[in-house]
């Protein structure tokens, strides 16, 4: 597994290898192995609590309009020639939010037109518009994968993600008061600072 740091710890040593296998299988199934740089999991069946802390590898770049469309400014309208449909739904949502549905038209599958009105001009820098952030989907998949790895009965859950670092905690009881201290300690053992 090409993860720089992949450690699972538990006071009951007999279950550690099983959770290494489960984490391996789940991350492979969700194609997250290449996305994660570090992962440290602590499971205590006695309390019981499951804490996963980690760091993502190189984050995927933002998808901008120029990456998949050609923008042409014409009198009274802006034409977008779509080269790839993958991000079209997200693009239409962004345009509807910004300009309203009445100004955005899609005459055919491969083109979108925005009405350019003098009092409500279209952004001249439209090409740089951020359409989607693939990291959002990646984090969603990551949390789903951690839910699958964690024991099923651990229904009290909390997670956090920021700038490539994440933690996920789950328990059958209320989460312990010293959760943030435990998380910080796990980050340190992984060679990272929270």
């Amino acid at each position: 597994m090409p993860i720089d740091h992949f450690v699972i710890e538990s006071p009951e040593a007999g279950g550690v290898q099983s959770y290494i296998d489960i984490a391996n299988d789940v991350l492979l199934d969700h194609t997250l192995v290449k996305a994660i740089a570090k992962l440290h999991i602590w499971i205590d069946p006695e309390y019981p609590i499951f804490i996963a802390v980690g760091k993502l590898g190189r984050l995927p770049p933002l998808v901008r309009l120029r990456d998949f469309a050609e923008v042409t400014f014409e009198p009274g309208k802006v034409k977008l020639g779509i080269n790839e449909e993958t991000h079209l739904a997200a693009l239409l949502n962004r345009l509807w939010e910004t300009y309203g549905k009445n100004r955005v038209e899609q005459p055919d599958r491969w083109s979108v037109e925005i009405a350019d009105e003098p009092d409500l001009p279209v952004d001249r820098n439209l090409e740089e518009l951020v359409v989607t952030d693939p990291t959002e989907g990646l984090v969603r998949d990551l949390i789903y994968a951690l839910l699958s790895i964690a024991p099923e009965g651990f229904r009290v859950r909390e997670y956090w993600y920021d700038d490539g670092k994440f933690w996920f905690a789950a328990s059958e009881n209320t989460l312990p008061d010293d959760l943030s201290g435990r998380i910080r300690a796990l980050f340190e053992r992984m060679g990272e600072q929270l």
Binding site: E12, G14, G15, S18, D25, P151, E152, G153, N173
Partner: protein
């Protein structure tokens, strides 16, 4: 005459000759699958006649294998039906024991997860108790298994085979009072069982189920049943032909000491009770005909001969 469970696999062509042969020898075909050009028969046949069936089946491309679980219905119980337990390992185990002739039913508990909150409902317990034995598939930590089993085993009367990640010896020591069987080194996993060591664990589960069911058969043999479940199956098939139109793979499921008849209880229970086995002896005289908790099926529990003074 001692009947032993076997599986016959062969071509569809002239397979009816094998079915007739088994009937002539006094055996029973419990289940018949036709898969494209292949037919699989799960049967109970006289032990001494197996070489004869092999000899007759050979020109038809037929093979005979011992299948110790033919004629049993086994509950495979998982703490829930979520991604944590399905399709692996629950489906793998249910499928594997089905290959050896058992009718396996998967039972995903509504609230079987969590060591503190695990519980079973009355309906779940009653459904599990309608089987010959229950295989509980628990997880990876001994601590959780011990705590959960206290709650999950409550009200279960049939023999329990417990599986989990700790070794068989650890499970045997940890569970108190003991259950009927233990299989360690299984636990929760998230991939299909296909490696040799994983398949050997499935074999270990089958071996433990066979051992537990043999003990149950020995127990029953001390006070034999008033009639053989397989014989009652043929009686019901002959006298209630509507059962032949049921589309379920096993319209009548044979158990060690009973049957599950997949017909509506309200409509057919009286006809099952009054079905005649021999002159004047009806199924109602030697068995309790009860409503099953599984859909609206009929559950037939055969009474021991000491209770009825009849052996047919």
């Amino acid at each position: 005459m001692i009947l032993v469970p076997i599986t016959y696999k062969g071509g569809v062509y002239r397979h009816d000759e094998i079915i007739d042969l088994i009937a002539d020898l006094g055996g029973y075909v419990i289940q018949k699958h036709v898969l494209a050009t292949e037919v699989v028969l799960l049967c109970l046949v006289p032990r001494d006649d197996i070489p004869l069936i092999e000899r007759v089946g050979k020109p038809l491309g037929g093979e005979v294998e011992r299948s110790p679980l033919v004629g049993t219905e086994i509950a495979v119980v998982t703490p829930s039906l979520s991604i944590h337990h399905l399709p692996h390992p629950a489906c793998d185990i249910a499928e594997y024991i089905r290959r050896l002739g058992a009718k396996s039913n998967m039972i995903g508990l509504a609230r079987g997860y969590g060591k503190r909150v695990a519980q079973t409902s009355a309906e779940e317990r009653e459904i599990i108790n309608e089987h010959d034995c229950a295989v509980f598939l628990l997880g990876n930590f001994e601590h959780c298994i011990v705590r959960k089993m206290e709650a999950l085993r409550r009200g279960i009367d049939v023999p329990i085979v417990l599986t989990g990640k700790p070794s068989t010896e650890v499970l045997r020591t940890a569970i108190d009072p003991p259950v009927a069987g233990y299989v360690g080194d299984v636990g929760r996993f998230m991939h299909r069982t296909k490696e040799a060591d994983e398949l050997s664990r499935l074999d270990a589960i089958v071996a433990e189920i066979v051992r537990v069911l043999d003990e149950r058969r020995e127990e029953i043999a001390k006070d034999p049943l008033s009639g053989s479940p397989a014989r009652l199956m043929t009686v019901i098939q002959e006298q209630i032909p509507e059962v032949l139109a049921v589309t379920s793979p096993t319209p009548i499921t044979v158990q060690i000491a009973g049957l599950r008849v997949k017909l509506p209880y309200a409509e057919f229970a009286d006809r099952v009770r009054s079905a005649e086995i021999e002159e004047g002896i009806t199924i109602g005289r030697i068995a309790d005909v009860l409503p099953s908790r599984m859909r609206d099926y009929i559950l037939v529990r055969i009474k021991p001969s000491s209770e009825t003074d009849i052996v047919v």
